[in-house]
C-alpha cells in the first residue's frame, strides 16, 4: 500500500512498511456515521422540505454521535483520548512547520494540527446541536424541542447562530477533506484507509 503511494505521488518514503493498529471500531464507526449524519442534516437544513422533521432526526443523530465521541475521548483507548492528542501551541507550530514537507508525517493518531480540527468541529457541532434544540423559527412546526425552556429572544439568536455555524461547519468539512487530499497527493500518506480498516502502514523503522 505504502509502496503504491510512493510511486504514484513521487514523494519519498521508505518502502518497507509495517501495519499497526490505530483507530478503534468506535472511532471508525463514529467517523463514518457522522459523515452520513452531517451531510444529511446539512442538506436537509438548506434544501430539505419545509417541514423539517428529517432535519431534526439527522440533527439528533449528530448530537448523539458527538456525545459518544466526547465520552470516548475520555474513556476510550489512547489514540481516541483528548489528553493524548490535544497539544499546546508550541507543538502545533512545530507540526505546522513540517506540514509543507513532501513526505508522510507517519503520525500515529491525530497530529497536533489535526487535533485542532477535531476539537474545533466537535465544539462547533455541540453549539450547532444546542442552538438547533432551542431555536424557534416561529412557524409553529419547526420549533426546537427545547425552545420552550428559553426566551423567544434567545431562540432567535440561537437560530441566527445556527445558520452561521452551519456554513462554518461545512467550510471546516471541506478544509478537512482538502487536507486528506493534500496528505494523499503531496505528502504520500493515506489517511483514509486507517479510518476504514483501523490499521495504518508506517515505515518499518518508525517506533
Amino acid at each position: 500500500m505504502a509502496g503504491e503511494q510512493n510511486t504514484a505521488t513521487g514523494a519519498k518514503a521508505p518502502v518497507a512498511a509495517r501495519s499497526v493498529a490505530l483507530w478503534d471500531p468506535v472511532v471508525r464507526l463514529f467517523h463514518w456515521a457522522l459523515v452520513l449524519a452531517f451531510f444529511a442534516v446539512w442538506f436537509l437544513g438548506k434544501f430539505g422540505p419545509d417541514q423539517m422533521t428529517l432535519h431534526f432526526y439527522a440533527g439528533y443523530a449528530v448530537g448523539g454521535l458527538v456525545l459518544l465521541r466526547l465520552i470516548w475521548g475520555i474513556i476510550g483507548p489512547a489514540p481516541a483520548r483528548f489528553t493524548s492528542f490535544v497539544r499546546g501551541p508550541k507543538a502545533v507550530m512545530a507540526y505546522a512547520r513540517h506540514l509543507p514537507a513532501r513526505r508522510p508525517s507517519n503520525t500515529l493518531g491525530h497530529n497536533a494540527v489535526g487535533a485542532l480540527f477535531v476539537v474545533g468541529i466537535l465544539a462547533v457541532l455541540v453549539v450547532q446541536v444546542t442552538t438547533g434544540l432551542i431555536g424557534d423559527p416561529e412557524d409553529y412546526v419547526n420549533t426546537g424541542p427545547l425552545a420552550d425552556y428559553v426566551a423567544i429572544e434567545t431562540s432567535r439568536t440561537a437560530l441566527s447562530l445556527h445558520e452561521l455555524l452551519g456554513n462554518l461547519a461545512m467550510i471546516m468539512v471541506i478544509v478537512h477533506i482538502a487536507a486528506i487530499g493534500f496528505y494523499r497527493r503531496w505528502k504520500g500518506e493515506d489517511l483514509v484507509t486507517p479510518m476504514i480498516t483501523g490499521k495504518k502502514q508506517i515505515p518499518a523503522e518508525t517506533d
Binding site: 423559527p137 412546526v141 441566527s160
Partner: protein, 154 residues
C-alpha cells in the same frame, strides 16, 4: 370669534399632523406584527394539538382554522407599505428589503399559504390524524416565506 378661529386653525393644523404620524412607518410595522401575531395565536393552538401538547378538539381546531381563513380575507397590502423594511427600521422589524424587490415571489408564497389554509379548513374537524399533516404543511408555507423574506433576528 377671532379666538375661536385661531383655535380652529390650530386644530386644523395639528390634527392632520397627528394623523400623518399615526400612519407612519412604525405604525405600519406594529400593525404588521399584530397581523402575524393574530395568525400566530391561531397557529399556536393548532400546533399544540398537532404535537399532542393539547388535547384534540374538532371544534377548537375548526375554530382556529376558520379564524386563519378569516385573516386571509384581509388584504395585507397596506401592511407592506414601502419604507418599512428592517433596513428602514432596524430593530423594529425583521422584514427584509427583498420583499419590496420581489413582490411577485412574495405573492406566490402568499398563494401557497392561502392554499394550505383552505386545505386545513377542509380537514381540521376530521380528527387529529387529518389535522396533523395539514398543520405541518401550513407551517411549512410560513417557513418558506420566512426563509427568503424575514431575517432570523432583529
Amino acid at each position: 370669534m377671532r379666538k375661536l378661529l385661531t383655535a380652529g386653525i390650530a386644530a386644523a393644523l395639528i390634527v392632520p399632523a397627528s394623523l400623518s404620524f399615526a400612519g407612519g412607518p412604525e405604525d405600519v410595522v406594529n400593525a404588521r406584527l399584530g397581523y402575524y401575531r393574530l395568525l400566530g395565536l391561531e397557529m399556536d393552538g393548532l400546533a399544540a394539538m398537532a404535537k399532542g401538547e393539547a388535547e384534540y378538539s374538532a371544534e377548537a381546531a375548526q375554530g382556529h382554522a376558520a379564524n386563519i381563513q378569516t385573516l386571509t380575507q384581509y388584504n395585507p397590502g397596506g401592511l407592506f407599505a414601502p419604507g418599512t423594511s428592517n433596513a428602514d427600521l432596524p430593530g423594529k422589524t425583521r422584514a427584509l428589503p427583498a420583499i419590496w424587490e420581489n413582490f411577485p415571489k412574495v405573492g406566490e408564497k402568499g398563494a401557497a399559504f392561502r392554499a394550505a389554509v383552505a386545505e386545513l379548513n377542509a380537514v381540521a374537524g376530521n380528527g387529529l390524524d387529518a389535522l396533523r399533516p395539514a398543520v405541518g404543511k401550513l407551517g411549512g408555507t410560513c417557513k418558506a416565506c420566512h426563509d427568503d423574506f424575514r431575517a432570523t433576528d432583529y
